[in-house]
């Protein structure tokens, strides 16, 4: 065991893992985190706590991660390269570990131009692959990036992101291989809507042996409405929503669109359960945490394994 986290145990035992997502609030209100956590507890194995996603200022992801622990969830602490240099990042990793955080997800981060502080100075001192290298070195060698010794090593289970739907497509498997070489233990993909392209990607990743070296979790986002489907297609970078999905959502009454979105997600999850090379699902129910129990129930992912 590298970290001993629940997520790691479930993946090592080859149980089909399920991770969720919890976006910290745009304020210092603990009750928001508690309310969201209530719906996720017992429904997922661990929960991504996003780090100022879409470059909007939110409660620090380490702080919301600690609140999640207090609510009985296991956090996947997200860390982006956009806002902090290597000194602050390594410092936060030590702090996060000291406070009981055991899973970390290393990301580049959305560009500041998307957020509410587009005039801020972007940092990007290191990139996501260099961050993975750093966390691995801290854990396995007990050394900072500088090479100096760490007294108590932060033993983190290291996650990374993967987007098979962004150009250049042929480079995506190379990038996955690089992240594995850097030290990624598991991957969560961008929201999958284009199943054909995803199947092709997984087949290539299987052929290259990548899915044997790291656990791959398929990203699923249930569409709440036709408006959301169109927004994801047109405005969210790196997301590929095929017209067939748009048509399918558009084909039902407005009141039924959320239900149809959940049905599509459940069909995807059924396929992922049987897909060679997949170790689980990452369920991103964006600002829809209260529907997670229903989705997980309908996707026949309950009860979650006890480890």
């Amino acid at each position: 065991m590298k970290s001993g986290s629940r997520l790691e145990k479930i993946l090592v035992e080859r149980r089909f893992a399920l991770t969720g997502e919890l976006g910290p609030p745009r304020g210092a209100d603990i009750s928001v985190v508690k309310e969201k956590a209530k719906h996720l507890k017992g429904m997922v194995d661990s929960v991504n706590i996003t780090d100022n996603q879409t470059a909007m200022v939110r409660m620090a992801s380490w702080a919301a991660s600690v609140l999640a622990i207090q609510e009985g969830l296991e956090p996947n602490y997200q860390m982006v390269c956009r806002d902090r240099n290597r000194i602050a990042m390594q410092s936060d990793i030590l702090g996060a570990y000291a406070l009981g955080i055991r899973n970390i997800i290393c990301l580049s981060g959305d560009h500041p131009m998307f957020g509410d502080h587009p005039k801020s100075k972007k940092v990007f001192d290191i990139d996501s692959i260099q961050l993975i290298c750093a966390v691995k070195r801290m854990r396995d060698e007990g050394k900072f990036m500088s090479g100096s010794e760490i007294a108590v090593k932060p033993e983190m289970f290291i996650g990374a992101a993967l987007n098979p739907f962004a150009e250049p497509f042929e480079f995506r498997e190379i990038r996955m291989a690089k992240k594995i070489e850097a030290g990624a233990d598991f991957f969560q993909t961008q929201c999958i809507f284009n199943m054909k392209r995803f199947r092709e990607f997984v087949t290539r990743a299987n052929d290259l042996g990548l899915t044997e070296k790291a656990y791959l979790l398929a990203g699923v986002t249930p569409l709440k409405s036709l408006g959301m489907a169109r927004h994801m297609k047109n405005n969210v970078p790196g997301i590929d929503v095929p017209d067939a999905i748009i048509k399918r959502i558009a084909g039902v009454e407005k009141k039924q669109q959320a239900d149809e979105g959940i049905t599509i997600a459940c069909e995807q999850i059924e396929e992922f359960k049987a897909m060679k090379g997949l170790a689980g699902v990452h369920l991103m129910a964006i600002e829809w945490e209260h529907r997670v129990p229903e989705i997980v129930e309908r996707a026949k992912l309950l009860p979650r394994p006890q480890v």
């Binding site: 996501s128 962004a166 150009e167 480079f171 190379i174 970078p237």
Partner: protein, 226 residues
């Protein structure tokens, strides 16, 4: 070359407010080439300032003089005989030129009239694009001659983020993704191995002011270097 843009007139006016006799100094180097701070632009700015101050009944005497380059002591010294007659100096050079003047004339207020924006190329007349961040650790050798520090919005070193929209950067459809371009060029040159390996965290070299003294001149300046 260094590309600059003339500051808004109101900002320049607020900088020189209260000074009656001004010497506006042009630079015949980069800022002249990018049509921001050569003799012609000195003349235009001086005319605008004079007209504007006249309209507001603010007394202003402004002269212009342009040297070959404001970043070189041999040329900057041409101002020595003039500066005594003025209350303040306006510089249309890049930030390096402004500071070089301020350093040479420590008793005189020196104000920038230009925003130095980037190191770039002249794509066509009046069209400039950034190409270099002067980061001090050039990686163009492994990125197919396309700079990820400058051209990638996140300055990534190990390939594209998950954000490209087609071949565009997530930031704007009008900005090409640097890593899509790097990938294509290296693939075309059969050099993809360059970006298969991990490029480790780099030395940004921006902790202290940059200074280079060529080896062959070290003996000449070594006492001053300390």
């Amino acid at each position: 070359m260094i590309i600059g843009e003339v500051k808004p007139l109101e900002e320049i006016k607020s900088l020189i407010k209260g000074y009656r006799k001004i010497l506006n100094t042009g630079c015949g180097g980069c800022t002249a080439v990018c049509l921001a701070g050569g003799q012609k632009e000195v003349d235009i700015l001086n005319t605008k300032l004079a007209l504007s101050c006249k309209a507001e009944n603010t007394p202003l005497e402004i002269d212009g003089f342009t040297v070959e380059r404001q970043c070189e002591v041999a040329f900057v010294s041409e101002f020595d005989r003039m500066v005594g007659q003025y209350d303040a100096i306006l510089s249309m050079a890049c930030g390096a030129g402004v500071q070089f003047l301020a350093e040479r004339y420590p008793d005189k207020p020196v104000f920038p009239a230009i925003n130095s924006t980037f190191v770039g190329v002249n794509k066509d007349i009046g069209w400039y694009e950034e190409r270099c961040k002067c980061c001090g650790d050039c990686v163009l050798g492994f990125t197919g001659g396309i700079c990820p520090v400058t051209m990638c919005a996140k300055s990534l070193f190990n390939g594209p983020c998950g954000g490209p929209q087609g071949e565009s950067c997530e930031v704007s459809k009008d900005i090409p993704c640097a890593w899509v371009a790097i990938y294509k060029r290296l693939k075309g040159q059969n050099r993809l191995d360059n970006i298969r390996t991990i490029h480790t965290a780099r030395d940004w070299r921006d902790q202290v002011q940059g200074r280079i003294i060529l080896d062959q001149y070290k003996s000449r300046y070594v006492q001053d270097v300390k």
